[in-house]
Amino acid sequence: MANKVKAIILTGNGTNCEMEMAHACKLAGADRYDIVHLSELLFGEKRLADYNFLNLPGGFLDGDDLGSAKAGANRFLHAPIAGADEMLIEELLKFIAAGGLILGVCNGFQLMVKLGLLPALDQNFTTQSATLTFNDSGRFEDRWVYLRADAQSPCVFTQALDTVYYPVRHGEGKFVAADDATLAEMERKNLIAFRYCTADGSATMDYPANPNGSTQAIAGICNESGRLFGLMPHPEAFLHRTNHPRWTREPLPEEGQGLAIFKNAVAFIRGSNF
């Protein structure tokens, strides 16, 4: 019997894309798609262990006041769970060890990188080895971008995708690795699941197709297992053709291209051994 897909969309302290992310999980066929406030985890009212697909939505955790998702990552690392003699981070690491999927979008991606969940080359999920910093333009921008998926990537979420079109909406999306070795290793292992590209699919460093000046046009990365994935663009913002900026002038299928990411996650969980 296929596994149940139990998606949790974690919210609170400044997230703001939880509704559309839950909607994406629902459309993709998840059996559960619970929007859970972080305080419910911290008070032990909900447990990560009851889910197998963790969604970290976009937003501004704590206003991104100390740098994007920095204060949010600090909370994940140091917040205890009331009455459970366990820290939140321990629960998160158990979730990863159990094979759960994690998808971080925008601020969720920033959170994953700053916690160390990505790229986590040495399987150390709590040491930061890359970052997402201020766009070269020095400004927040909302614009649609083309992305090319790496066909060789182990990423669960981008399987069978080629070129897609999603919006970015961020001020701190420029990917920077701690060193060249990290970058080379990511490349060797095909962890760079998405790159900014031109409409014809070639990766680009040119603004605005590459909206932030990201190293090697990196838009999204996964870990080696492919189960942890983060990206700056917003797939959950393109679930229906009317989300597309040119839907009134281009023939488009009813379903938006963003849904594929969530469908891949759902299909993977259904077919895997949890």
């Binding site: 305080s39 920095k70 009317t242």
Partner: protein, 993 residues
């Protein structure tokens, strides 16, 4: 004792903020700066050990991959000038607050009971051959706002490279010493009463002061007061509470005044503009709609409520935040947006917020003349306001879907910052209608969200005056979107669990206003100000009552549910405090501890303000008629028009606002083949399972006030409605909001032409009545801001009377929506609506330094028929593109349609339905109302023309694939032939910074 943690970028990492600052210095001040680097400084008080400081610095405060840190020593190395900017004591420091929370969490139990606080500042390291005066100019003219921030300028020679800048803690050092001052008003003469009003910034006039004095002289009142330990003296708490409740801002005294109006021919007495024209028109429209009336709650709550469908209601409000934005553009605008968020949020049982709108009126950012005292450069206002709304909207997760920027030199004295927010709520919540409020005596008063400080004291009274020398600094607040977001997350949960009975926001007037208004539902209240959570010590009781500190909601909670409410607040990390209870005593009763500090009869508080009696005299102005020959090169003229500030692209601002969060974006502000054409209206789907959409649009035409505020208003309403029609709104499901921003219309020594300005206001209201009823678009809420003047020394600057008319409506199926970009070659181009030589107040005349006299007339009956026909054609899928003609007229609409679609157009002016002087330039640039440029597929021509039969609709040309805008004049000769790329460049360039 405090410690400094400095965080800067590693050598190889790009400092985007530094680069941006360098560019701003070059653009705004023209100074030859070679390099700017930035360093974030955290000043930490609370006695952290060296190890703890290091953990904080290496942990939450820095990014190890790209940053470096230093503790109690400087990072600064190479620079000529160092400028450090930090907040003044008591100013909201959002980053400092987050840092404190992060450090406290990091230390966990080891933090003990140490009181940790963090203050942030930023260093700018500037290299370049500039003088100290230049550096000072950069600091005070660009980087720091001296009202709320302090700055230090240090040269390389002066800098201590060993220990850096000394730690500075901008703490409020006042001690708690609650005092209540009393004053006996009952025996004072007129001069003395007025002096008190002026000195205490009460903004009350003589009649109002006398009404207050008379109340306290009433023996029955005094007798009742004695039971509470009070007498005929007025406490400062009472005086401030009355001044706030009776302020123009809260009471709309001008709108409710009795006006003798004459226009030379007729005279009439108007008993309240608000009741007569605004409420009056809505009542008439609702009656006419009968069973199709969609209004649910109008003019009674913080925002208007209409039906969306059987399951959901829509809530909409637009506010202004002009005076604070003049003093501190960033904080003022940020507070404007997060402030208006709380209006729909505090309406009925509370709504989830679905979009923001913003309309700004500024002087030219390229203003070259000398600035009068206390006025910030318009470029600085532009950038500050833009950034404030960016942070307020984006961080709150609310898409900004519609707006505009209007330029006129008279906004130099006060910019106008309109911010709107809509929300959605289930039609019923726990079995109760969501759009009504009820409060029972005995319900507990709870304040939740942020704490109270001195920020925003006198905001309500201050905005009821012109900007003057003594305008208070404390009137400025800085919003904190994340504190608000946490609070709204919590309250929506509490709402759905039925944990509170009623909710309202704390905006202008603070607790005095929110609890004062809520108490009218039960018939009284009893609160204890000593329970209120404060940001710092030293607030007096009256300050606690009227402080406009942000991010606070007031609630009425069933006593049985208080425990659960407070428990949920605690778990979700939101502060909530019981302040008292609602009663049916008929009194607004305020204590500090056990001592009564205010006790006012509710009737007097809310209904005791005397009605103002004003006179209004209308005399139509006469301007010189411009005399200029039609230009020989109309192509060049069009290019110049496209570059005018009121016409050019606002893309750089739009892009910096998240316009698609929440996932329901349908028609974005930027559309077309390259995602950069100007949309007429916004559409979102608030319920993601459904294809029903919400349409939002607006109209604003302040230049026409120079001719007649009646026409200005008619044109604004028409523009709002036609923008909504252009994208496909259901015309029978459209509601409006009126936001008046006027210059002082009360005749006085300061305002000798007050009766003319008031006549403009009367005429504007008459137009509201005439046109909303004609279109069947009722006002459901609105606001007025009546003192948009600047007056210091001999300089007086008054804004042009400005009405923003916003509309919110429904589209049943968003897949029928239409955008403004031409879609494909061969499509036919139509002009809908009649063009007349109405160039009075037009951009074309303004380009020739003239106003003219012939103002656009709106024929609402004809327009409505046209709009219905067009809507039907859109519903039938026969319209490929539709764009409204507004500033710059037909020529600009054609150019935008063409370049947004990446296509050419060929158009013949001979075919335009036109009445007036036969001039190509007049036809091209007339701003006659109720017109659209529409493109239609050739195969739909017959069906389209059938639906439009009998309307002023003419086929005037076709779409081409050659990328040229070609316009043939009345003579048949080509008068414009321009590449669309060139037109688009001209349109995109001016504000691309």
């Amino acid at each position: 004792m405090a410690d400094r943690i400095e965080v800067g970028f590693q050598e190889s990492i790009r400092d985007a903020l530094g680069e941006k600052t360098k560019k701003r210095i070059a653009d705004n001040l023209g100074l030859p700066v070679v390099d700017v680097a930035t360093i974030e400084v955290y000043t930490v008080a609370g006695g952290l050990s060296a190890g703890e400081l290091r953990r904080a610095a290496e942990g939450p405060l820095s990014d190890p991959v790209i940053q470096k840190i230093a503790i109690n020593q400087p990072l600064a190395k190479n620079f000529d000038w160092l400028i450090e900017v930090g907040f003044r004591p008591g100013v909201t420091d959002n980053v400092g607050k987050t840092a404190r929370e992060a450090i406290t969490l990091l230390l966990g139990d080891s933090a003990g009971d140490r009181k940790i606080s963090v203050y942030t500042s930023r260093q700018y390291l500037i290299s370049g051959p500039i003088s100290r005066t230049d550096a000072e100019n950069i600091a005070s003219g660009l980087l720091a706002n001296d009202l709320i921030e302090r700055h230090q300028v240090v040269s390389r020679a002066e800098f201590d490279f060993e220990s850096g800048m000394p730690a500075h803690v901008p703490q409020v050092t006042d001690k708690d010493d609650p005092q209540v001052a009393e004053i006996n008003l009952t025996r004072l003469d007129a001069a003395a009463l007025l002096k008190i009003s002026q000195e205490k910034l009460l903004a009350l006039n003589l009649e109002e002061m006398q009404a207050i004095a008379a109340y306290f002289a009433d023996p029955a009142v005094v007798k009742a007061r004695r039971k509470f330990g009070l007498d005929e003296n007025t406490t400062d708490v009472e005086l401030e509470c009355l001044a706030q409740t009776w302020s123009e801002h809260c009471k709309h005294k001008i709108f409710n005044s009795r006006i003798e109006y004459s226009d030379g021919r007729t005279k009439k007495t108007i008993n309240s503009l608000f009741k007569t024209y605004i409420k009056g028109s809505t009542a008439k429209i609702r009656k006419a709609k009968g069973r199709k009336d969609f209004c649910l709650s109008v003019f009674v709550d913080n925002a208007g409520v209409i039906k969306f469908n059987d399951d959901h209601n829509l809530v909409f409000k637009v506010e202004t935040h002009n005076s604070p934005s003049a003093l501190d553009p960033y904080g003022g605008a940020l507070t404007g947006i997060v402030g208006v968020n709380r209006d729909p949020f505090g309406t009925g049982l509370g709504a989830k917020l679905i979009f923001n709108t913003d309309v700004f009126c500024f002087a030219s950012p390229f203003h070259k003349k000398k600035l009068p005292p206390r006025i910030l450069h318009p470029r600085r206002i532009y950038e500050g306001v833009r950034e404030g709304v960016e942070h307020g909207g984006n961080k709150s997760g609310i898409p900004t879907v519609n707006g505009s920027i209007v330029f006129d030199e008279r906004y130099l004295g006060k910019p106008l910052v309109y911010c709107g927010t809509a929300g959605i709520m289930p039609a019923t919540i726990n079995g109760k209608p969501s759009h009504t409020k009820e409060i029972y005596p005995g319900d507990v008063i709870i304040m939740t969200g942020g704490r109270i400080g001195k920020d925003g004291i006198h905001g309500a009274t201050f905005s009821s005056e012109e900007l003057h020398e003594g305008s208070p600094v404390t009137a400025v607040q800085i919003g904190d979107p994340i504190t608000q977001k946490k609070m709204t997350d919590f309250l929506l949960k509490a709402r759905d669990r039925g944990l509170y009975r009623a909710i309202t926001d704390n905006g202008a007037g603070g607790l005095s206003s929110s609890i004062g208004e809520m108490a009218t539902y039960s018939g009284g209240c009893d609160i204890d100000l000593s329970l209120a959570p404060l940001k710092y010590a030293g607030l007096q009781p009256w300050e606690i009552l009227v402080s406009e500190a942000q991010e606070r909601m007031s609630l009425a909670v069933d006593p049985k549910k208080v425990g659960k409410f407070l428990e949920l607040a605690r778990k979700m990390g939101v502060e909530a405090t019981v302040l008292g209870k609602f009663t049916k005593s008929g009194r607004f009763h305020v204590r500090y501890g056990e001592k009564t500090v205010a006790c006012l009869d509710m009737d007097f508080l809310h209904d005791g303000v005397p009605q103002m009696k004003l006179s209004a005299r209308w005399k139509a102005p006469k301007h010189p008629e411009p005399r200029f020959a039609p230009p020989a090169n109309l192509g060049r003229a069009l290019i110049a028009m496209l570059s005018r500030l009121n016409i050019c692209s606002k893309e750089s601002v739009v892009r910096q606002y998240d316009h698609e969060v929440q996932g329901g974006s349908v028609v974005k502000p930027l559309v077309g083949v390259e995602n950069d054409g100007p949309s007429d209206a916004g559409i979102v789907r608030p319920v993601l399972d459904s294809m029903e959409g919400v349409v939002v649009a607006h109209g604003i035409c302040p230049r026409l006030s120079d001719l007649d505020a009646y026409s200005m208003t008619a044109c604004a309403i028409d523009e709002a409605v036609r923008n909504a029609v252009a994208v496909g709104v259901d015309l029978d499901h459209l509601a409006g909001l009126d936001n008046f921003c006027w210059c002082d219309p009360v005749k006085s020594a300061k305002t000798p032409d007050g009766d003319y300005k008031l006549a403009q206001l009367v005429r504007s209201n008459m137009a509201i009545y005439d046109y909303t009823t004609a279109y069947g678009v009722p006002c459901i809420s609105g606001k007025d801001s009546m003192k948009n003047d600047y007056s210091i020394g001999k300089t007086k600057i008054s804004v042009p009377p400005t009405l923003l008319y916003s509309v919110i409506g429904k589209i049943s199926d968003v897949r029928k929506a239409v955008t403004m970009d031409a879609k494909r070659p061969e499509d036919l181009v139509y002009l809908l609506g009649e063009t007349r030589d109405e160039l009075g107040g037009s951009e074309w005349f303004a380009a020739h330094g003239a106003i003219g006299n012939k103002v656009p007339q709106v024929d609402a009956k004809k327009a409505m028929k046209l709009y219905r026909a067009l809507s039907k054609a859109i519903q039938a899928g026969l319209v490929a593109s539709c764009h409204d003609c507004s500033d710059g007229g037909l020529a600009v609409a054609l150019a935008e349609t063409a370049f947004a679609g990446g296509l050419g157009l060929t158009v013949h002016l001979k075919k335009v339905l036109y009445r007036g002087k036969k001039r190509d330039d007049y036809i091209l640039f007339s701003e006659s109302a109720s017109r659209f440029v529409v493109t239609v597929r050739p195969q739909d021509k017959a069906k389209f023309e059938k639906i439009l039969a009998g309307q002023a609709a003419r086929e005037i040309g076709s779409v081409t694939g050659d990328g040229l805008l070609q316009i043939n004049g009345l003579s048949g000769k080509t008068v414009i032939r321009e590449k669309i790329g060139r037109l688009k460049d001209a349109w995109q360039k001016p504000l691309n910074f």
